[in-house]
């Protein structure tokens, strides 16, 4: 039960995108389609789980003053691993996400979880925390990508069912900001009714 709660908190109560409003750059920059959003979410999930686990394992060895640079180096190492893996096995995704893959290093969600959770808790709990927050991020990005793809090009996960051009503005920059704004409002409305 405890582990499940850790995951569900990451998805709903501490949702990085809709509640904490963290990691906005990849959220807005990569969600031109549902697939891209999901790819970015899963890439971040990968780094988040591994960095959470290793930081929680070595937290006691790191002096207080240099902890932030040390965490960043750990995170950067995992991002490099991810970069090389994607380049080798999913080059198409690597191409579309482009610069946002190395930018996972400076994603505030990853460093935020290391600082707020992983350095005080056990390795297993940190892994589940990373999984929960990563899933919350992935789900949010997939929904955002889904809406933008639907309105912008009339397709879902690349399956086109509305003929014609669609509203291009939703695939371009303005659509990203506006769709995210409405999704946050919707999320607030739904969770407020529950509580």
């Amino acid at each position: 039960m405890g582990k499940l709660k850790l995951i569900s908190e990451g998805i709903i109560k501490n949702n990085p995108t809709f509640v904490l409003i963290l990691g906005m750059c990849p959220t807005l920059g990569t969600t031109t389609s549902a697939i891209n959003g999901m790819g970015m979410g899963l890439a971040t999930l990968f780094v988040l789980v591994l960095s959470n686990m290793s930081i929680s394992a070595i937290a006691k060895l790191i002096p207080e003053e240099v902890r932030i640079p040390s965490y960043i180096v750990v995170i950067a190492a995992f991002v490099t691993i991810l970069q090389l893996l994607l380049q080798a096995f999913i080059p198409s995704l690597y191409e579309t996400l482009g610069i946002f893959i190395p930018l996972i290093v400076v994603n505030c969600i990853v460093l935020g979880r290391a600082e707020a959770y992983a350095n005080k808790n056990s390795v297993i709990d940190s892994a589940f925390d990373g999984l929960g927050v990563g899933l919350g991020f992935t789900i949010a990005l997939t929904i955002l990508g889904l809406v933008r793809e639907l309105l912008g090009s009339g397709s879902l996960f690349g399956w086109k069912f509305i003929q014609g051009e669609g509203m291009l503005a939703f695939v371009l920059a303005p659509g990203a900001f506006i769709v995210l704004a409405y999704l946050i409002v919707l999320f607030r409305k739904v969770t407020a009714n529950k509580a």
């Binding site: 906005m24 750059c25 920059g29 190395p102 920059a173 990203a176 506006i178 995210l180």
Partner: protein, 199 residues
Amino acid sequence: MEYIIIIISAVFVNNIVLSQFLGVCPFLGVSKKVSTALGMSAAVAFVMALSTLVTYLLQYYVLLPLGIGFLQTVSFILVIAGLVQMVEIILKKISPALYQALGIFLPLITTNCCVLGVALLVVNNEFTFGGDPHMLNLGQSVVYTVASAIGFGLAITLFSGIREQLDLNNVPKAFRGVPIALIVAGIMAMAFMGFSGIV
């Protein structure tokens, strides 16, 4: 001529915040007042220019000749974190007044993705102007970086001006805070789209 094209394209056409989505966190986070927005953009411009200069040299004179290009991400972020720390220490010593003004923004800059983002864009050759992808030389890189920082400053200053006005308005409860700010940013991005095609 080339430099003018780089500047116009980086400030207006490919505005770093509103069309490339780099540095959105500080854009939303420190834009509640015009004065803090100006301070933040000055600090960002300073660190960005320095870090691009150093990472450019690092990439072409250390990483590539040694064949360790895969260490790019790790080494760049270390350089940026180190530079930020150094700038903080030097400012504190030389100009306490400037330190007072920029001080609180400096630690935030390490995790500002536009610094690392621009450093990576410059060396990864993902920069196009006049149609074809271009390899930037050192001078062009620094000009491009400073212009990007000006673009960041322009966007965040305009945005904070609007947000100051927004505070006085009666916004529906669910939209208060971030959502209404995002909608304003969306409309601004739409306005900036009008610049596309001039370069």
